[in-house]
Symmetry: C2
Subunit: 358 residues, 2 copies
């Protein structure tokens, strides 16, 4: 075979970008499994297992932050990001009857998540695996499986599996509240909006990202359901751009970290058009006083006074649908900034797709 | 009055250091109120309010991370760091009967913590204020008050109120498990050990801190009950040294952030002599492979191979007592590094002692 016939090496970041673009299709595939969500919601109700304990690492744990709001706002259930260590390493004898243990793992192979699910079952919980691999060990161990159907994810940094995890948690919570069909329709609408948003942000993101080429650190501020988005954007910046990006709620920023701000410490603020907006606006004001550069995103990005860069997402009318859109500018920013720094977001150094670390 | 009679201006950081040194006495004062802890524990049991929802910001929220382990390991209760936004901003109609709402605020004046407690009472929770000011608004609103008795804290960055919050949560959990007296004896022992540890670490900490004078970022890794310590050390570094310090569990580090490590990104690892140790050792190995400088602390600091700096604390035999000691090297490091950077840890820029931000 002559060199002319060799396949071209993939452009760095092409898989990551491709998977960002695939998110609307991935969401629509998830909706095809709507019946499974209705069934699992009914079973949780029937068992009275309405305290929802969620576990996961990395992006899965970020999705769990969203789950707290989904279960709280829709069926009004208490849900928590549970401590894996408490059960798996310390062997605490918690009574988990009346609980659903919801284990989030894209691969279904994260060792301590699998072990947590096993222990939770022994302690009386109804166990549910939320995974992209229905034949995984996690799925086999669980009482019920909710398949993400995001399709094979090749880039190490998660994108479409994260958005499908949000949608899965929202859909389960909505079915539990008897609002499954309306929420599914909402996701369908979001998927269409997402296509346009991806195309428009993709065009201009390089110009927004380039000024941050030398940034070493950043705060990402979000409150309420958008705290999940803040955590996920910070994680993308850490793993694909090597920026020390820390997620904070708007109020957390005021309780200490604001002291670290200066003109070399940019702040990314996610502003939502809901009751959490004043806290975010106030936090940004303090960051501006310290001279920090401000990136504003979210569906109320235009309400952030004096932001240096605005990456607004369209309004959805629901605090539980907005995070599906507001993550997009963060993902695309991470892609563009990673390239501007000469890195390959498809294969960050030191990471592998399936993390088997304990 | 002649200028010779003017009081000398306080040395920057002298209040912060003084309050670090006061911690053993503050712990002993807390123990004098042991009866209140026994009473509140009995009342929680009598009401069956054994799901513990904790709220707080900054150091108080870090203490709540420890609370999850205290309530899980001692009375085997489910406890969670609750979302303030869900209840206060979104007005989610959660049923909180069967719950204790435990609101942590040094000043007792943090607005959304007070508002959370008020809402939690309306939703059926038994409400408990854990505060340094028994006449505060938070204390007045609560069904029961657990006074921290740390004494007036003048430095903006919390130290003795944080350690007394840990002790208060541990003591409440121990009384709930019928082990209050043993735990109180444990705290008494820790207070004595703490005096010696403070004196010995204080002498050598400047030499450990100085090499980090130009550091811009850091990860602080801890697992299990020591995750609270990791969060609190990171917060001290942020607010007193302006370092972008991010707390991570050992496993979280492997799920993405490890990609950001390089020789200019130091890692502080808290190693405990318990089941979580292998995960911390593994995380540090990966950090060393990336060339990161390693600071090891905790009671198993000596078990971290190849650490550049070791700040071990004595063993206590209990994962719930060790965090009272393992925070000390972090506090003293923050004090020394803050001074090495020409900052005043008593009054970090942009912060005030009572944070009224929403």
């Amino acid at each position: 075979m002559s060199s002319a016939e060799l396949p071209l090496p993939a452009e760095p970041g092409s898989k990551f970008l491709e998977e960002i673009r695939e998110q609307p299709d991935a969401l629509l595939r998830l909706l095809e499994s709507g019946a499974a969500f209705a069934r699992v919601a009914a079973e949780i109700r029937a068992r009275g297992a309405t305290t929802v304990r969620m576990v996961g690492h990395g992006s899965s744990d970020n999705a769990a932050s969203y789950g707290v709001y989904a279960f709280g706002l829709l069926p009004h259930w208490t849900s928590l990001r549970d401590s894996i260590s408490l059960t798996v390493y310390y062997g605490a004898e918690l009574d988990m009857s009346g609980c659903t243990a919801l284990a989030l793992s894209q691969s279904g192979r994260t060792p301590d998540v699998v072990e947590y699910l096993r222990q939770a079952k022994r302690r009386g919980a109804f166990t549910v695996a939320v995974t992209n691999d229905a034949s995984s060990e996690l799925a086999r161990e669980a009482d019920a499986v909710l398949e993400l159907r995001a399709g094979h994810e090749q880039a190490v940094a998660a994108t479409k599996t994260y958005t499908n995890q949000l949608a899965a948690l929202g859909l389960l919570a909505a079915h539990a509240a008897g609002e499954g069909d309306a929420f599914a329709a909402g996701i369908r609408g979001v998927a269409e909006t997402m296509r346009e948003l991806t195309a428009s942000v993709e065009k201009r993101i390089a110009n927004v990202a380039r000024p941050f080429a030398y940034a070493g650190r950043m705060f990402v501020v979000g409150r309420g359901a958008e705290f999940a988005t803040a955590r996920e954007i910070a994680l993308k910046l850490l793993e694909t751009c090597r920026i020390a990006a820390e997620p904070l709620t708007a109020t957390d920023l005021a309780h200490g970290p604001v002291a670290a701000l200066d003109p070399l410490f940019p702040v990314w603020a996610i502003a939502s058009d809901d009751a959490t907006l004043p806290a975010v606006v106030e936090a940004v004001e303090r960051a501006r006083e310290a001279g920090a550069t401000i990136v504003a995103s979210g569906d109320a990005a235009e309400s952030i006074p004096g932001a240096d860069y605005v990456l607004a997402s369209p309004r959805t009318g629901s605090p539980l649908l907005s995070p599906l859109l507001s993550i997009l500018p963060g993902q695309l920013f991470a892609w563009a900034l990673s390239r501007a720094r000469g890195l390959d977001p498809d294969t960050p150094r030191g990471l592998s797709k399936v993390t088997l670390a304990r």
